[in-house]
Subunit: 130 residues, 2 copies
């Protein structure tokens, strides 16, 4: 039995935990979003890799493309030296924030609309049941 001290996960572990195919996980690696270490040919995922995958999937749920997600993750892990680079990063961050706030607004609007529709359905249901 392997000592579970070191958090090492197989590709199927990850695929099961997050309900994605192993093919997708390998694809993310091809696209440079994941860099698991290897034991021979096999991929071994650390907890950091797991967190990165979580970030990827969250980005997907938000409708970002993989390259956008790559950009976002690079923001997380960037250790930028130059001042100009920092300005650029901050601008990127603000862009994302604008996008996310727009989405939040879209969601609010859609939710209230859905509420209205459901209420109408319920009324119609009630009137059918008498």
């Amino acid at each position: 039995m392997n000592a579970p001290m070191t958090e090492s996960l197989s590709i199927t572990d990850l695929s099961r935990e997050f309900d994605v195919t192993t093919r997708a996980i390998r694809f993310y690696e091809d696209e440079g979003l994941l860099h698991p270490r290897r034991q021979g040919r096999n991929r071994v995922y650390s907890n950091r890799d797991r967190v990165r995958l979580k970030l990827i999937l969250r980005g997907k749920r938000l409708g970002f493309t993989l390259s956008e997600i790559a950009e976002i993750i690079s923001l997380y892990h960037s250790e930028p030296g130059e001042s100009a680079q920092l300005d650029y990063f901050i601008e990127k961050i603000r862009e994302r924030r604008r996008q996310l706030l727009q989405q939040k607004d879209d969601i609010e609007v859609t939710l209230t609309e859905l509420d209205a529709i459901e209420r109408q359905c319920r009324e119609r249901l009630a009137s059918l049941k008498q």
Copy 2:
């Protein structure tokens, strides 16, 4: 202050107002998301069409596929007769709501993370400027 409630818009009117290509608008029609009336061969868009396009674009910003958007819009315009259909609709609505709430949560998390990153950038910037 009479905003022209012009009931008839051209395809370029729409494309300019919402900053989408005419190609995209025609594509949405091909996919059954829009049904403008015709004057001869030319498409003429009513204000209802305009609202539908707005819904489509909002759906896109939320990361939905066109067929998902079609489903959502069909919820808006459905005149369901049967009780079973109504139950089905309500279930659909709840599904959407779950999805949107998940997205909202994702956004909150990402926003606070972005805040943290920007703060770090600012600190780094400040320390560089001395």
